[in-house]
Symmetry: C2
Amino acid sequence: MASFAERLATAVRQKGTPTLVGIDPRFEQLPPSLQTDSSLAGQAAAFEKFSCELIDAIADLVAVIKPQAAFYEQLGPLGMAALAKTVSYAREKGLLVILDCKRGDIGSTAEAYAKAYLGDVSAWGADCLTVSPYLGDDSLTPFVDQCTATDSGIFVLVKTSNPGSGTLQDLSIDGKTIYRRMAEHVESLAAATKAPGQQYGAVGAVVGATYPEQLSELREVMPSAWLLVPGFGSQGGGPKDVAAAFDADGLGGLINNSRGLNFAFAKEPYKSTYGAARWQDASAAATRDMIAALAAETTAGRLA
Amino acid sequence: MASFAERLATAVRQKGTPTLVGIDPRFEQLPPSLQTDSSLAGQAAAFEKFSCELIDAIADLVAVIKPQAAFYEQLGPLGMAALAKTVSYAREKGLLVILDCKRGDIGSTAEAYAKAYLGDVSAWGADCLTVSPYLGDDSLTPFVDQCTATDSGIFVLVKTSNPGSGTLQDLSIDGKTIYRRMAEHVESLAAATKAPGQQYGAVGAVVGATYPEQLSELREVMPSAWLLVPGFGSQGGGPKDVAAAFDADGLGGLINNSRGLNFAFAKEPYKSTYGAARWQDASAAATRDMIAALAAETTAGRLA
């Protein structure tokens, strides 16, 4: 199998867009037709149906999805089964899956997480994971090793999109911020995991669209790392904010939108045109609009 | 219901020990009688049996257990079902459960994690979670709110036990380390979540036994926070290394041992006395020995 970075580049080129569809099921925001049974089992069944129908709606449009584990975990083991089904269904449809679970632990425990989630041989079978780096450099090693062994990838939290991300990440030591130090470490891991002739390695970074200046700085610091950029849409980031994520060919950045695409049916202009009865069409239309906006205002326009 | 900190203090006093039994099932290290079926379903059944029998073996000896989610997650949704059973079984036996899953995310996603795991109303029903703080202060708020709403608790990673914990946590800004800054924030959250007349709040800190000097420093910085101290036993920490975790009454510290208690049957002196056939007795004996060692060399001796 090709490396994760190669598969990602190929898939993004093929679909012609860096749009990443996040899947964040929230029971009370689902279309009313899916809110019929609020028991844990009923909610889990609704999450599975919602996730799979959303995948059907956007599978021809984008290359990658990012299910957010937290929402499925909220429903206990039944929710986890819905998450597993979501991952396998997306992969059957030819999509790459980044599981957003921000795991991180020491030594052999990190290894257990890596083996749990990464690659075809794992129980969850994701292509890629998000990973939290508070425990230090050695806590990332088992994930990187598993990426190499299974042609999978990770995105390490570097500069997150939330208002309080600065309390730790922006602290500066000898003129260098924590997020920049973390970025330099990610770059070293990315460079070390490049397949021959490739621009990007198996290790990428999460950098929020809500901090455009830092995004620009971090694109320079990490020339070998794919950037996963959350914060587009509901959190306030727009196409111009994320333009710095891409290289000259329109590669190197994945722009995530979750709520804005998941629940498009509840907001104009999609609400009037489609409404809850045609929520899948609303999600597809909102995805198309995001693809067009990114193509118009960033180098992603060169992918098509 | 009493607050988590009150329930914890009561339970630790009642059992007379701060020993925390970690549950880290690893299929290849289980007693051979539990290694009969290596399919995912077979491994999940073995994890459930191992976890529940271990709980039976130590329920009369200690107040708290700490299942490590990573090992159960490795088995996919079936493993998560075994984890849920482990949590509910331990609580039926009157034990407090700290679920070690080091979750952390932004805003409403952190809220989903908090609602997933904390308190009787949650799908998982744990008393307490471990939480990773890389995303910043605001990422902890939803967990703290849920602690207050459900009389549950969290332990925030401050100074972890792994060799590489220093790469981020020991960085120093204006003479103050990251772990110390984090500790000061934990102390503010702990102080703000104290029940009337209590010494400790709902927010505690993870501080590794492998760094005794930092443990001593951090006990002073966080007078309102319970400390969860991993790294005892297999990772090299001994009773003298963890003595600083406790207050004068022997409270305020929980000393975790996982592998050393889980797989005691495979090591002397328990191997000769009990062996794999009586692995539960080996775990109980190793737990008793740890309790005695802590009582002899720390203020935990005053609990009895």
